[in-house]
């Protein structure tokens, strides 16, 4: 009798619009909070959302209110000690408004910051908001969408070349069975009747002949059901799906010589992860190549890249040569967007640095969308830095930065990939 309406499956997220508006309106504050949060936490959990706190006064919705002061007379419950005329010491704070003022509570608790949870998407959106990879626009504009065809079940229409024999025969068989079944049932009955008639009347009687005629007619009817009909035909279905051509490969090149201590490595790691995350948002498919080097370079997997210990001198060029070779071997042909990120403490074998510069400028940079070098050192710039400085300006796709402490990573990252207006 009563009307019960199940609304559970109605549109969810009715408030999504309001939520978006909220985020948009307080973008400045949220962005600041996000950037603070990045400083504070490990880059490793960049994949999570973030709880963001905004000073409550920034988003207050003001109304006319009574302030503190004046005369208030209020009723409270739970009298345990007072009688009329008692004088009571004024509570330290908040008592003045006594609740009549609204916000002020008994123990003087003030309004807290407004804290809420950003989802991972919102968080990253804001985090990457004004970052864009250099040359990205160019690559994206030039992007040609390739398609590849993929099987997608069967259809009842198509071109003869796509006929699927097995499926077609199966449905023909099914149809024949379905259409013929009433006749078959009758056929069985008649057969039985014939057998009985023969037993009673003998082979040559009229009844038997009559029944046999009928049997013959039925068989003819069953035979008249077409063996295959256009209705039965099934065709292989193939659909085109867009093939991501925006694929990128990211080279992580890191010095693991004795002078790179764990702290420097972890700084470098954060840098790589940030770069990876950003590329991840931009490209549909990313390969990562890890190259570690001391005096010789080696391609490793991620775990070994960061965790195994090695020591010894430093020949940076070995890594660049390996990177060049890998590019030629696997990523040539313009199908790949190539990004390089090199992290080092800048300590190199003196004679090697000019070689590095040569390899970089003539054999790597022309292929790269972007190559970033970060030097993790608290002190003076080292010889590799000095050599690399000469490259600045010769290629638009080269950038370098120095990082002194882990706290510098985020600003450096922004600096490196800041939106190029050109």
């Amino acid at each position: 009798m009563v009307r019960i309406i199940d609304r559970r499956f109605d549109s969810k997220n009715k408030s999504a619009v309001n939520r978006q508006r909220f985020v948009r309106r307080f973008k400045q504050q949220i962005r600041r909070a996000v950037s603070d949060a990045i400083q504070g936490r490990s880059i490793r959990d960049l994949d999570n959302g973030e709880s963001v706190s905004i000073p409550a006064k920034d988003l207050s919705e003001p109304h006319f209110q009574h302030g503190k002061g004046g005369i208030w007379e209020q009723v409270f419950p739970g009298n345990d000690q007072f009688s009329t005329g008692d004088q009571v010491k004024r509570p330290q704070s908040g008592g003045g408004g006594g609740g009549g003022g609204g916000k002020a509570s008994k123990d003087g608790e003030s309004e807290d910051d407004f804290v809420f949870q950003l989802s991972r998407e919102e968080f990253l959106d804001i985090f990457f908001d004004d970052l864009a990879l250099p040359n990205l626009v160019r690559t994206q504009l030039a992007r040609v969408t390739d398609f590849k065809t993929q099987r997608a079940g069967f259809t009842s229409t198509g071109v003869p070349a796509n006929i699927n024999i097995v499926r077609s025969m199966r449905s023909a068989l099914g149809r024949r069975l379905a259409l013929g079944s009433p006749y078959s049932a009758r056929l069985r009955e008649l057969q039985q009747a014939v057998d009985e008639a023969i037993a009673i009347h003998g082979e040559d009687s009229d009844e038997v002949r009559q029944l046999r005629d009928e049997l013959g007619r039925l068989r003819a009817k069953i035979d008249a059901i077409p063996f295959i009909d256009s209705f039965d035909l099934r065709y292989n279905n193939r659909v085109k799906i867009p093939l991501p051509t925006t694929q990128a490969v990211m080279f992580c090149v890191m010095d693991v010589s004795g002078s790179m201590d764990e702290e420097k490595k972890s700084t470098a790691k954060r840098f790589f992860m940030l770069l990876y995350l950003f590329l991840n948002r931009t490209y549909e498919h990313i390969e990562v190549v890890f190259i570690r080097h001391h005096t010789v370079a080696k391609e490793t997997d991620e775990d070994e890249f960061f965790h195994s210990r090695e020591s010894g001198g430093t020949v940076v060029s070995s890594a660049l040569v390996l990177m060049r070779d890998i590019i030629r071997e696997r990523y040539a042909g313009g199908q790949w967007n190539i990004y390089g990120a090199q992290a080092s403490d800048g300590d190199n074998w003196d004679n090697d640095s000019p070689i590095c510069r040569d390899i970089l400028s003539s054999e790597i940079l022309p292929w790269c969308q972007y190559f970033a070098y970060i030097e993790i050192t608290p002190g003076e710039p080292q010889n590799l830095w000095r050599e690399y400085t000469k490259l600045i300006g010769t290629s638009p796709s080269f950038a370098m930065q120095r990082i002194e402490s882990p706290a510098d990573i985020y600003p450096v990252f922004r600096e490196l990939f800041k939106k190029s207006l050109a």
Partner: protein
């Protein structure tokens, strides 16, 4: 009443189903009818917790226009809920015809039963009976009006940009509590009329406003300044109404939005005035209806235990000196008062005969009906708060005068204090003194078109820190300088805020 001879117990257990909700509803409706509760037809809607938060964020309405502040409320509700700090409200009930009661899918069967009794019969009958709701709100039209409002505002956003609409709404929201008619009776809302009249109103209003200013240059003569008349002639309490009709620079669509916010503020005005009565009434009835069903043998003991646990949580009143004390709990006070009224009717003591000669020993259902229909919190407490309830709550009054060194206990729950405590508590629920009294005083028609507001200070209470912000919003709506004066009890006028704004309107 025709009933089966042996009553069929209602389904027990905690899992609900549509059939069990239907059966509970049928039984509750039967008992409610036996108690002569007059209600709108009921429509029960099952929703998820998230939808509950949605509804919660948009001030409990099933449809509303979009605004960031609703998003903010949603986020804070969601946070509280996720962390388990706060249970969601069990119920939201919408004062509409049919009366919509939301049941949350997470609730157990006893909770659903409780909500049906509380919302669909308690609140529902209050909405239908109470004079404030009868005169101020129109249950038949509210949903339609909200749909109209949402579509209208969405259209404005398309045409004039989300940002402009948002700023306008911000300003209107700031004035929402001053956007109600406290004394005048509003005309009824109706969607059809509303739509038809909206167009006319747009054009008509604009000509009106322009006329107001077009006549200006004619009055060059400045003689007789002493007897200069004010505009408006009488102070206007409804700021949003005044702005809608008179703000010189608003476009027609902006006036319409001001009107929408004003109408919605007006719709919620009765709810703010009847918290204690309304919640107390609903609590009293869910308690009574379910207990009646239990007495008839329809409810299991396990149901009653769960129900009583929620019920006692709801009506708990913490004393003033615990940390979680947060004012007087309207559910507790309201429930205690209604229960006490019934007691006075059925088992009056000598004290009751002295205090309530007109209801002591009368028929409790008639008394209930009369009280529910004709009062709001302020008058309800002034009329019906009995010495027994004051004693039970151990109420005492504190006088806090900022010029005094210490607070003074001005009255307690004893013979000499009952009347005083009751008076103060009643005053506490008087919205007129709870919120600052600010009215439109004058518009400088002949000069800079500035708007002057007057704050009638009451018991020397100053305005809060938010004043400057709100004044900026008023200035944005008015388009010219806005002043705020404060008048104290001696009649001394003092200028407390002036927000200058010279907005040049660019016509495109």
């Amino acid at each position: 009443m025709k009933r089966d001879l042996k009553p069929q117990p209602l389904p027990s257990g905690s899992e609900w189903s549509f059939e069990s909700i239907d059966r509970y509803h049928a039984e509750i409706a039967r008992v409610a009818a036996a108690y002569k509760l007059d209600t709108y037809p009921v429509q029960i809607e099952i929703i998820t917790a998230e939808q509950m938060m949605d509804a919660y964020a948009s001030v409990g309405m099933p449809v509303n226009y979009h605004h960031w502040s609703f998003g903010k409320h949603f986020l804070s509700t969601e946070k509280g809920y996720r962390r388990g700090q706060m249970g969601l409200a069990y119920e939201i009930v919408i004062n509409s015809n049919p009366c919509i009661a939301y049941l949350m899918e997470e609730n157990t069967l006893p909770m659903q039963g409780l909500v049906i009794a509380h919302a669909a019969y308690g609140h529902n009958s209050f909405f239908k009976g109470n004079y404030l709701f009868r005169t101020w709100t129109n249950a038949d039209a509210i949903i339609d009006y909200l749909i109209f409002a949402r579509n209208y505002i969405a259209r404005c956003e398309e045409r004039y940009g989300e940002e402009d609409v948002e700023l306008l709404l911000d300003s209107c929201h700031a004035l929402m509590s001053l956007g109600v008619d406290r004394y005048r009776r509003p005309p009824k809302l109706s969607l059809a009329k509303e739509k038809m009249r909206q167009q006319e109103r747009e054009e008509y209003l604009q000509t009106q406003v322009n006329d107001l200013w077009r006549t200006l240059p004619v009055h060059e003569a400045r003689g007789g300044a002493a007897q200069e008349s004010r505009f408006p002639d009488e102070p206007e309490e409804n700021l949003l109404y005044f702005i809608e009709k008179n703000a010189p620079l608003l476009d027609p669509w902006q006036r319409e939005i001001v009107r929408i916010v004003r109408k919605i503020a007006q719709y919620f005005f009765p709810q703010r005035q009847t918290q204690v009565m309304n919640e107390g009434w609903a609590t009293y009835w869910h308690y009574t209806l379910l207990n009646t069903l239990y007495d008839e043998g329809l409810l299991s003991d396990s149901f009653m235990l769960e129900f009583l646990q929620s019920h006692t949580n709801v009506v708990y009143q913490p004393p003033y000196n615990v940390r979680w004390y947060n004012g007087i709990n309207p559910y507790a006070l309201g429930f205690a008062m209604w229960t006490d009224i019934r007691r006075i009717c059925e088992n009056p003591t000598d004290e009751d005969r002295e205090w309530f000669p007109e209801i002591a020993g009368s028929d409790w259902q008639d008394t209930f009906d009369f009280a529910m229909r004709n009062f709001k919190d302020e008058s309800f407490i002034a009329q019906y708060l009995s010495p027994k309830v004051m004693r039970d709550f151990r109420m005492f009054a504190i006088l806090d005068d900022e010029h005094e060194q210490s607070l003074k206990v001005s009255a307690i729950h004893d013979d000499s204090g009952f009347r005083r405590v009751r008076e103060i508590l009643s005053e506490h629920y008087n919205l007129g003194s709870r919120e600052p009294n600010i009215q439109v005083w004058n518009v400088d028609l002949r000069g800079d078109r500035s708007l002057t507001l007057r704050h009638q200070a009451w018991r020397k209470r100053p305005l809060g820190d938010t004043t400057t912000e709100v004044m900026k919003h008023i200035a944005r709506l008015w388009g010219f300088t806005v002043r705020l004066e404060s008048v104290d009890e001696q009649g001394t006028v003092e200028l407390i805020n002036e927000t200058r704004l010279e907005k040049r309107k660019t016509r495109d």
